[in-house]
């Protein structure tokens, strides 16, 4: 699945350059049939809902045009900015640790000489990611409770003796980042590993002959050459991170509400829709997230020169 994702990323680049050549004489090809199921699902469950939330966000309950009132109303809600703050802190911790740790892990795995060890490690990295979302967070509910946790001594040392102390508000961004890292990082390591493999071995070989150390090779050759893949990882991690929902929602339920059910922006949108019956406000918050994601993604794309052809 991970390799597939990577292939898609690169194949879209190939396709982009390919379509330039055949501009003007369009006819269906095998490739179009391959993407057809994906595109139709995307339209049904991606594009149409987004358009519908745009409609909802700019209308009131009766469907009349409401301008930006849904946006101002939700942004002035007393829970909005705390939620934005929570997600922002979480994102900083998660994105920085993701980039640094995933890149170093990938480089290390790539350096390992034994083929068998490599295969084993790659498989081990992938296992947590294979657990479906909510169930992996459920697992963490046990890990975070010092009474039943296999890492209880560590928890007691750095967080507290009781579950309630472990999930104190100041610990939450770190906890969510650790959960996100544990469930997601393995998959990202594989993506970057795949990218490292595309670097021609003669380039590395030449550097080695010139006396470059592994660190030097990593910094001057490998990192610049997989820059696009790192950008790609960052974009997806950012998009997923801003949509933080499952972790705080489940921990909120497990803590009987000590972690509030409006901790993240997405949870707040959920509260608007289902506690306040305010679907328009909910859609406005969802659009806020989309806009932030789009702006940040464009920055990443521009800075990481994602769409440049080599």
């Amino acid at each position: 699945m991970t390799l597939l994702a990577h292939e898609r990323a690169t194949s879209s680049e190939v396709e982009a350059s390919g379509s330039r050549r055949t501009a003007g004489s369009w006819r269906p090809r095998a490739g179009h049939f391959f993407v057809l199921p994906y595109v139709s699902l995307l339209v049904l469950f991606g594009i149409i809902p987004v358009l519908y939330s745009v409609y909802l966000a700019f209308t009131d309950v009766d469907g009349a045009f409401a301008g930006f009132s849904n946006f101002t109303r939700t942004a002035s809600d007393y829970r909005f900015w705390p939620a934005v703050g929570h997600v922002a802190v979480y994102l900083v911790i998660w994105l920085v640790s993701l980039t640094v740790l995933v890149v170093s892990l990938t480089l290390m795995v790539h350096q390992i000489a034994s083929r068998r060890t490599k295969t084993f490690i790659r498989f081990a990295y992938y296992i947590p990611g294979a657990l479906a979302g909510a169930s992996s967070v459920l697992l963490w509910l046990f890990v975070l409770d010092p009474t039943v946790s296999p890492v209880a001594p560590i928890l007691k040392l750095i967080a507290g003796d009781h579950f309630a102390e472990v999930i104190a508000p100041s610990h939450l961004p770190w906890i969510f980042a650790v959960i996100a890292f544990w469930t997601g990082a393995g998959g990202w390591v594989l993506v970057l590993y795949g990218a490292l493999n595309t670097i021609p071995s003669d380039v590395i070989e030449a550097a080695r002959v010139d006396g470059a150390s592994p660190v030097r090779i990593a910094l001057s050759i490998q990192l610049p050459m997989i820059r696009k893949s790192i950008t790609y990882v960052l974009i997806l991690a950012f998009a997923a991170g801003t949509q933080l929902f499952v972790e705080p929602q489940l921990i909120s339920q497990a803590s009987f509400g000590v972690v509030p059910n409006d901790y993240s922006v997405n949870q707040l949108a959920y509260q608007f829709a289902f506690t306040q019956n305010d679907f328009n406000g909910s859609a406005a918050i969802a659009l806020d997230l989309l806009v932030v994601s789009l702006i940040t993604t464009s920055l990443f794309v521009a800075r990481g020169r994602l769409f440049d052809t080599d």
Partner: protein
């Protein structure tokens, strides 16, 4: 565009927000056809959208027929619904189990709001473990719950419920639920331990506090209560007549957590937490049963603690646990107690067979046992309650006669603590409990508690006065 990368995400759950959004939107699409604004009318049997003085039920009902009805129950109430089907083989109900709206899951409202938008799909009867849905169901366009006391359920039946049992789900004179069980707070204690330590059971909160001091020095480790659950205010603040949740109208609430009654309860809790006789662990967390399960000397709490906590979670042996009447503050004129939950049965005004729905809800609330098994909680229907107490006593689990304290407490629930559309438990957990984990005292958190109640209330359209 945003969706494209999201769906490719490898390890991380990709479709979380989009799934929520899609669910919301799917409902909306269909709902666009359904939302029709209805004309005025007085508050006869519910929101002005459905009130109708010409209807025999007091609200606009669907065309009635004899279709099979659907009921939603939690797993604990499933045997009750199955027993109904066994007793009524000719017109069985379709049983659907769900989480019972428990632990703030809000699933009752969530699902109903989607049905409201879709214009179809409502079940006929729903059970919830809490009873906080009346205000919500009385608003325009949400839930459209059926009024019980405007012609749907006979007055004879309604008067069979314990005094005040239906108050929690009555808004402006309209009752929206049939109460399943009372959850009146009593003083639970371990008679064996109290005898062994030579203590007498306190009757006032002051005595209770003094005894806690004694326990702290003479038998450290033993506890006299817990303040680690979200319903802590419903035990201690409610009993102190703290005006934190005085619902004065359909959308008005009076809140003053700086009232001396709130302060005295907070100070008592802080003192007992400091001397470690008041636990701050959740009763239902794994930690409590493991570390303090056999250290419970006293435990102020609802009637359902007997079966659910002592017999169930803590597995305290038979013959040890006893119940005493609720404690009294010596400066108060009467004894007041609180109430923690107590489930409720709701009927949808959209039911196409209201007669069957009403029959079902009346039957399940008026039984003390289902198919030979005693009901899990103290019934709100008086005659069922007497049978239930008599049968429970026969089981021999309790060390004293619990019927008297139970019945006394049932009549002492203070009516100044209402039931609003927002959850007091969620507010307490978010502000006070979260503050307690950082070592703050409850007294110091009272202003934050006030602010959060005001904010939540205003968000839901309440007018807040102090």
């Amino acid at each position: 565009m945003e969706m494209v990368p999201t769906n490719l995400t490898p390890g991380r759950r990709p479709r979380r927000a989009s799934r929520v959004r899609a669910a919301a939107l799917a409902g909306v699409v269909v709902g666009a056809f359904a939302l029709a604004a209805c004309g005025g009318g007085t508050s006869v049997g519910g929101s002005k959208d459905i009130a109708d003085s010409d209807s025999q039920y007091g609200f606009k009902a669907e065309t009635q027929g004899d279709s099979q009805i659907t009921v939603w129950v939690d797993s604990t109430r499933q045997p009750a619904a199955e027993a109904y089907n066994k007793a009524h083989p000719d017109n069985p109900v379709k049983i659907v189990t769900y989480d019972g709206n428990a632990n703030g899951s809000n699933s009752f409202k969530t699902k109903f709001q989607l049905f409201d938008r879709a214009g179809s799909g409502w079940p006929d009867v729903v059970f919830t473990t809490d009873n906080n849905s009346a205000s919500w169901g009385s608003f325009d366009g949400t839930g459209d719950l059926a009024a019980m006391n405007k012609g749907l359920v006979p007055d004879d039946t309604l008067s069979g419920f314990a005094d005040g049992a239906l108050d929690v789900c009555t808004i402006d004179g309209v009752s929206y639920c049939l109460r399943n069980d009372l959850a009146q707070n009593v003083l639970w204690y371990n008679k064996k331990l109290m005898d062994q330590f030579g203590y007498t059971v306190p009757t006032t909160w002051e005595d209770y506090e003094a005894l806690a001091d004694k326990v702290a020095t003479e038998h450290p480790g033993y506890i006299v209560g817990t303040a680690g659950d979200a319903w802590t205010p419903e035990i201690y603040m409610w009993a102190a007549e703290c005006p934190a949740n005085d619902v004065t109208g359909a959308t008005s609430v009076t809140v003053d957590t700086s009232d001396p009654n709130c302060v005295k309860a907070a100070q008592m809790l802080d003192k007992l937490i400091a001397n470690k006789t008041m636990s701050t662990l959740s009763l239902f967390g794994p930690e409590f049963a493991k570390t303090e399960g056999d250290k419970v000397l006293m435990l102020p709490g609802p009637s359902w603690y007997g079966g659910s906590v002592f017999q169930g979670t803590l597995k305290t042996p038979a013959g040890e646990i006893a119940a005493a009447a609720p404690l009294k503050w010596s400066d108060a004129s009467d004894t007041s107690t609180g109430n923690v939950g107590g489930g409720a049965w709701w009927i949808s005004s959209h039911s196409k067979n209201l007669a069957a729905a009403s029959d079902f809800a009346t039957w399940v609330t008026s039984q003390s046992s289902f198919d030979g098994t005693l009901a899990p909680t103290y019934p709100a229907f008086s005659s069922a309650a007497s049978d239930w107490v008599a049968e429970t006593q026969k089981s021999g689990y309790y060390a004293n006669d619990i019927s008297e304290p139970f019945q006394q407490a049932a009549g002492e629930v203070w009516s100044g603590w209402g039931s609003a559309a927002f959850s007091q438990e969620a507010i307490w957990a978010k502000v006070v409990q979260a503050g307690m984990t950082q070592g703050k005292t409850i007294e110091s958190l009272l202003p934050a508690w006030q602010t959060e109640i005001e904010n939540q209330a205003k968000t839901l359209g309440y007018e807040v006065s102090k």
